[in-house]
Amino acid sequence: MPSARTSNPPPALEQLFQPLRAEERPAVIRAVDVRKVYTTGEQQTHALRGATLSVFRGEYLSIMGPSGSGKSTLFNMIGALQKPTSGKVYIDQVDIAQLDQNELSWLRCRKVGYIFQTYNLIQVMTCLENVMLPMGFAGIEAEQAREKAISLLKSVGLGHRILHKPAELSGGQQQRVAIARSLANSPGVVLADEPTANLDQRTGQEMIDLLDDLKQSLGVTIVSATHDLKMLKKSDRILWIEDGRIARVAHAGEVDFDSQEFH
């Protein structure tokens, strides 16, 4: 197995992003030749073998890849949840490899919003408290946080249920609360990990429409890992990852969604 630190030449960056360069949008996230090696005893697993990508402000990027492809690892790096073994990951111009645990907390709190497949609301808290939580972590005063949380819950269509506990809500409603929570600190990027996987077709579609609305109205940048065709069709770009490398990046308009790989 090759060492993680052998310096492969960076992938053909220019080629990969040529069509996007023209848009000249600033990159919220930049990953440059990111490698990640997990060591368990003697065994070394290369999860990422030099991934380079940019996520631009206000775009909706979907990441596709089979399990074991390194998709989760890439996703975690973009979310400042893990540091790369080598390479650079910039979130809003900040190289996460340089940060200690506290600084990573700071970054996650303010710069990244998370939407989970299983919603991950804190069950003991009301919807309002769930949305207020990240603002509390950011040190925002309670009254101000409360106002913002209420307006966020209204914007996801749950203004009438702010004092309910998650268990009293349907899956779709819980995911709406989670979306409101992800936006609490106006992050530069929202990470969505299979956000529709636990929802039925119709609720999933509602969620996709809601994310699309938020993207349009608030200019939120969204990165999602998904296999949901409905979501893929809404995204601006789709990125395929295979065997730890980025295999392909394409605009949704250029992709043939009727092809075999989507079925």
Binding site: V94, R108, N120, V124, M125, A138
Partner: protein, 351 residues
């Protein structure tokens, strides 16, 4: 061109407290189980500590009891069964509490008749509940048919014909409750038994060693019970951490620092320590008081309690402190375990 990142703001304790309060309210059942463990451990501790304070107060009572029991035992060995028999008692001076207790003990053992000769010092009212001593003035009436003559006090028996009295007894038994200087007791015909005695040195040493052993054993039991309590809390907290893995990971994703997560568990532990400690102190004091009320006279216990109030309060305060400190110590490992959790784990849906 990297922007500088400040350290994550220290999160207000109030927020951690709110999370803890919610957590405890929701997981009331589990919290109560944990708290019960603390309550029992602390109740045990406080009952031992409180008992030590109370025991000082009743130590004199214990000594009297033990001593009078011993005197009774010696007397009984000489006279044989006293039930429904007659015993003569000569009171030479105001009887000591121990002597009164010996008399009461005789009454309890179904003594049939008590003949009393007193040189002007009668027994205080209320010495007996059932027995009515028969006061006699002459030697013949005192001695006739009784199992022996019990002499109370160090005073003189002048005025009593000792020879005549002893002659009337079933056996020439003279039991002296105190060291007496009356020369007539040395009469060779009398079987003189001294009920009071100085403990020999080796006996005293044995008693002291026994006390030390008991003290050490008590200490050992306290330590063991507290260790068990700590392990119980740690175990319950670890389960609580495992149960909340996803919440912890989610909070870390949302920007919670490790310090905040640690704080949550330490706060929760100290809160449970406070509640469990308070309940344990109340329970422990109630149990030890109930025990003392059962073993001793109520007025004596109340008197002791008043006298030793500060010592009992100190014991309660020590137990409270122990409850909080032990809970926090018990939570250190689970809290660290929780704080070290990798936030990425929250993204995995199978947790």
């Amino acid at each position: 061109m990297t922007t500088t990142i400040p350290h994550q703001a220290k999160l207000p304790l109030r927020m951690a407290a709110a999370v803890v309060a919610q957590g405890i309210r929701i997981r009331l059942g589990r919290s109560l189980v944990t708290i019960t463990g603390i309550v029992l451990g602390i109740a045990f501790l406080v009952s031992i500590l409180g008992s030590q304070a109370l025991r000082r107060g009743v130590a004199e009572e214990d000594r009297l009891r033990e001593e009078s029991n011993r005197m009774y035992g010696i007397l009984l060995a000489e006279t044989g069964n006293l039930a429904h028999r007659a015993l003569s008692v000569a009171v030479t001076a105001e009887p000591s509490p121990m002597e009164l207790r010996l008399l009461r003990r005789l009454e309890r053992e179904q003594l049939g008749e008590l003949r009393l000769w007193a040189a002007g010092t009668p027994l205080p009212a209320g010495t007996f509940e059932r027995l009515t001593p028969r006061r006699v003035a002459d030697a013949a009436g005192l001695g006739q048919g009784a199992l022996g003559l019990l002499v109370l006090g160090q005073g003189s028996l002048s005025g009593l014909n000792l020879d005549a009295t002893v002659a009337g007894l079933k056996q020439p038994l003279l039991a002296l409750s105190a060291e007496s200087r009356d020369a007539r007791f040395s009469n060779a015909g009398f079987n003189v038994v001294k009920l009071s005695r100085e403990l020999p040195a080796d006996e005293r040493l044995r008693q002291r060693q026994k006390l030390e052993r008991e003290h050490f054993r008590g200490l050992w039991i306290i330590v063991i019970s507290l260790v068990v309590t700590v392990i119980g809390i740690t175990n319950a907290m670890l389960m609580s951490v495992t149960e909340r893995f996803r919440d912890i990971g989610t909070m870390k994703c949302l920007g919670a620092t490790s310090r905040f997560i640690r704080q949550i568990f330490l706060l929760e532990a100290s809160f449970m320590g406070l509640v469990g400690g308070a309940a344990g102190v109340v329970l422990g004091l109630l149990v030890s008081l109930a025990t003392y009320f059962m073993l001793y006279d109520a007025s004596l216990v109340l008197h002791t309690l008043r006298a030793e109030l500060s010592a009992v309060a100190l014991a309660a305060a020590e137990a409270m402190l122990a409850a909080v400190v032990l809970s926090v110590v018990a939570a250190l490992y689970p809290a660290r375990f929780a704080a070290r959790m990798v936030p990425a784990d929250a993204l995995r849906s199978n947790i």
